[in-house]
Symmetry: D2
């Protein structure tokens, strides 16, 4: 049984972490950090926790926390962790950071897209990008995990095998993503009021969204080249869920009989299976199916599928996940399981809830 | 490890039963019955179950099923189970019936409100009304459980203590209930299409809804008198959740110092606590709080609270539950736990999902 | 052609006023007042108005406005108009106040329920309560109209005929009301965020909501007695719409043949028709129908119907309206039409939008 | 005053036609055709029309109808009109067809994508594709108008100027479209039930949707070349609205000073303005804005805007409309106005409703 602390426990991702960790056999939450609600009962902030969590919110004292717990989850605004992290802290505790501070290896890229100066670039190198399905073998002995972004996780897992295998021309890759509104956080903003979001849909952050360089960097590792993509997020009137629809031109391949042609849908599905059949949390749907966000809601699954368009020689790659689970808290727990040698699915064998 | 079969596994309540039983340590589902989808993969009907349930839907063969399993859940249309149940079947297996067939002890009342002839009234007497918080001690050795209706569960648990204690005048009891749309089932009807329900609200079944006599019968047992109430259900544009707002005139009580007056809010809250503090699944909120359906979503909890209106000497009693969990499948699992001597919370320690 | 100014033009009610007045042949909006958005283009605040409204938001200068326009609509916080209204202003311009400042004739009642001191009680007497269907004949030469609240309009129009005719025992009247979220306004509050409201339902302001005394006062005028009711509002995950479900015990009446008994459903429907057949904006549905908020959305209609419950001798009265139209801006325009002698339906012959 | 008949008046597009024509000064609806509801009151099918439309639904007798009215709107299933249309009918009446039967000039393409044999190809040539902003000058004396599809209208108006001006490489054009659920029609299907659509999002008809060839044909006319695009529709949990996000690689252009480079965002916005400033129903948003479906709801507007991504040299083109108005009934009325020489905006000066 390890002890965990959460900084930013009253945001939506923090709340989901609490929900998941309460069902985890090997962890006890001992610190519900929330600067905004210090001294308030956690169950007053999230009343689903009534009679379940008795704790009171504590301040964000990272040093004190490092002494008390085995792992800290930071679900904090961009730049916050980077501004307070020290070697002393890292020598005492493992940190799984749900913010973007250590996701991007190139500091200049981070500073450009986020518009802030990185206060502790010395830790970027050692931080492991916690996309478990790809970096599982780098988790040994790690102190700092950069938990991937929600859009990023869905975008990468949906496209990664084909970028890595060189089956698509990554210069043509376009990711059109749609997200539920919990991704916008619990801040009180007019644009996120019920009446503004409900019965409405829009794109935002067009060509400028911060998850873009994160996707590009990881796909770049996959193919060994610089990758530059188009990425457009959209806000959808639902609480949870990310749906990615990605487009890319296929590259011709050599067939067994020697002729060169575009790969078939079956061949591409086989690639998905090659990468993901061993992955518990990635479900490769059957040909003809399309992922739906509702079918993964509340779970740590990513559903992927694809469709080849023979008229344009493009493949349409599709993926769906729950942005608060596999896109945030679930993945963080999965990373914790890897860090501490727990069974990877522990606490995460959640059956999606429908309807 | 017992074996369970579900008849009607492809309705919304059936689907929720599957979700819950998959997380239950003592049960294995061996029969996914669905007349409409015989021979189809269950995971094709409910794609949240992809990679989780490999089974294929089977026909509704109750006799065969009775031989194979320890418990049968019937989530079937009204009258179906009553028309096929036999002593032979009941001698082999326990049945938890999610339909209304054995809920009402008075056959004439059942036949009048449901408009059908009861085909096996001989089993009504032995059937236990499976509202665990009230009938827990009657579950010993029982073969047939009548699982309560969704509206009924919420209405009864919200009002029961005050009817039983004689603190309200039951002749004045009015239950205004609001339900998410999953309560309307998965049948393809125009009135339940997204565009008809979304951005809309209406009452239905006004003064004629079938859960009325069920509530009345149970409350009648509580106070030892015939109870006749007003009950109005409403359809709300959300998937899950029932909210009950009940109104009743308070009766004066004798205070310790001998004077007679209306009870205070604190006194009434104490009554809730007296009845429910020992109940894991009933959460008595703090004074001033009002139950919200979202705070119990996905869980087996019922949240209750109340408000005294000194201007009218009425009490407003409020309760919220997830109609598919505590209002259907969760309660069925709770009943199963009681029948088989499992821990009552087994498989049901679900933290509500928010948002 | 008259000139109109709006103070509070950037709230939801203000925005709806703009939408309606743009379709009105006799009015031109010349002042879009909004303290929060002074000097911003109105069409930037409400982008539905792009290319339609070219104006820029102005400050709330009531004195200046009184000189420039014929009618001022004030969609402002409680207490604001009362704190700045003067005889000089009222001598220059007609004011239709969408706030509660002049709705309640009894100052003590206003101050108790609203918790503020009334700053200009001298104008209360002359203010006409602008529920057109009831006070149409009092609108002659009026300078100040108190536009009724949204819940109030729906509650009164649904119950008024039966209170006035003495057909129900008003001591038993219970109004259970449900509202879309636009009623909560456009303020940035966590509790009104999409993720908090969506897939959720709750009661609020139980036994304490400020529309209660407003309903009571008007129903009191109807029957000539003090009326005290139970009123419970609920928040529903939809943008627009109020649904009222009201319960009351019937009083026996003398039948033509001399015997005394409870009135029948037909007799009560006749009463609705007697009061509302001449009213363009009140639609009495056919027996067996129940009002749905979607069927009046975007229009100035109120749909009403009723159901008699012979088991309890109660009548269930139901009404639905669009809270931003008949519940706010539409009624304000209807009042303006009466004040200026325009056709009462001018600008309001809106066909409800479905779906 | 002309007389209009509607065949298919009880579908969602038919219902919207009724709503719009009721507000049109020059038209009277004399025939509410609905095979499914013959002899039922129209206001029973669409209760928003209670007290407004007194008519009863009639059968789909095209010949009789042709004798009685000046214009027929057919909102019927694919293939229906083509199977019954005759020269005799067309010689008597103008027809505006909201189905796809005469949209595609190439019969083989129609038959391939729709999987049905075209029964009256002889009328295809004379049918004018009723995208008013593009084909306004072809409407003189026309007898048969093929009203464009909802996705098509949004996709074409969003991309047309740049295809026509040769500013984008049409081989790279990808249209990712999102639609509210009213686009799926009022048929009772499980997949369109509230609980299946709500809190969910999915792509459908990937690489096979029937609006694809319609978009391609029209864009082909614009640039004089065969156009083949990727088009992916998505289902969104809202009633109304289509949002199009289109991606295309920019082509370099000659600048005034002679150098050749990619066009800037301002240059592209100028192109939008060049095409649409004279168009009442197309609103070109300001740089940096993105269209939102809610801002056009209930109106005949199409909002468009764009963003240049200098990293990829792509332009992201965005458009939003109300699928039942500009995407169906509103455009049909606009076509009628052109056919009969009415003012083009007559009956369509609808201010979008927010929220």
């Amino acid at each position: 049984m390890i002890k965990a602390g959460i900084i930013g426990a009253t945001g939506y991702a923090g709340g989901e972490l609490v929900r998941l960790l309460l069902g985890h056999k090997e962890v006890e939450i001992v610190w519900y950090g929330s600067r905004s609600y210090v001294d308030e009962k956690y169950a007053h902030v999230y009343r689903n926790m009534f009679d379940i969590v008795d704790a009171t919110c504590l301040d964000d004292n990272l040093q004190e926390l490092a002494r008390q717990v085995d792992v800290i989850f930071t679900a904090t605004p961009q730049g916050y962790l980077a501004s307070i992290l020290t070697e002393e802290i890292l020598s005492q505790v493992k940190i799984i950071d749900l913010s973007a501070d250590y996701r991007i290896k190139d500091v200049a890229t981070y500073e450009k897209w986020y518009g802030i100066t990185h206060k502790s670039p010395q830790f970027i190198e050692e931080a492991v990008y916690g996309l478990c399905e790809i970096n599982r073998d780098k988790m040994q002995g790690v102190r700092l995990v950069a938990n991937p972004g929600c859009y990023t996780t869905c975008s990468i897992l949906t496209t990664y095998p084909f970028v890595k295998e060189g089956l698509i021309d990554h210069h043509t890759l376009i990711v059109d993503a749609k997200s539920g509104t919990s991704g916008a956080g619990r801040g009180a903003k007019v644009q996120n009021l019920f009446c503004e979001v409900n019965e409405n849909m829009k794109a935002y952050g067009v060509a400028t969204h911060r998850h873009t360089p994160e996707i590009e960097e990881q796909l770049g590792y996959a193919c060994g080249e610089d990758v530059t993509i188009s990425f457009t997020p959209h806000l959808v009137p639902m609480n949870r869920g990310i749906l990615v629809t990605a487009y890319a031109s296929l590259k011709k391949v050599a067939y067994p009989d020697g002729h060169v042609d575009y790969p078939t849908e079956d061949m591409l599905l086989d690639v998905y299976h090659k990468y993901y059949d061993k992955e518990y949390f990635v479900r490769v749907l059957e040909a003809g199916m399309t992922p739906e966000t509702k079918w993964v809601e509340g779970s740590n699954f990513v559903d992927v599928c694809l469709k080849v368009d023979p008229r344009t020689h493009r493949v349409i790659l599709m993926g769906a996940l729950d942005n608060l689970v596999k896109g945030a808290a679930g993945q963080a727990v999965q990373n914790m399981n890897l860090l501490f040698g727990f069974k990877e699915q522990e606490g995460l064998e959640l059956v999606p809830m429908f309807p």
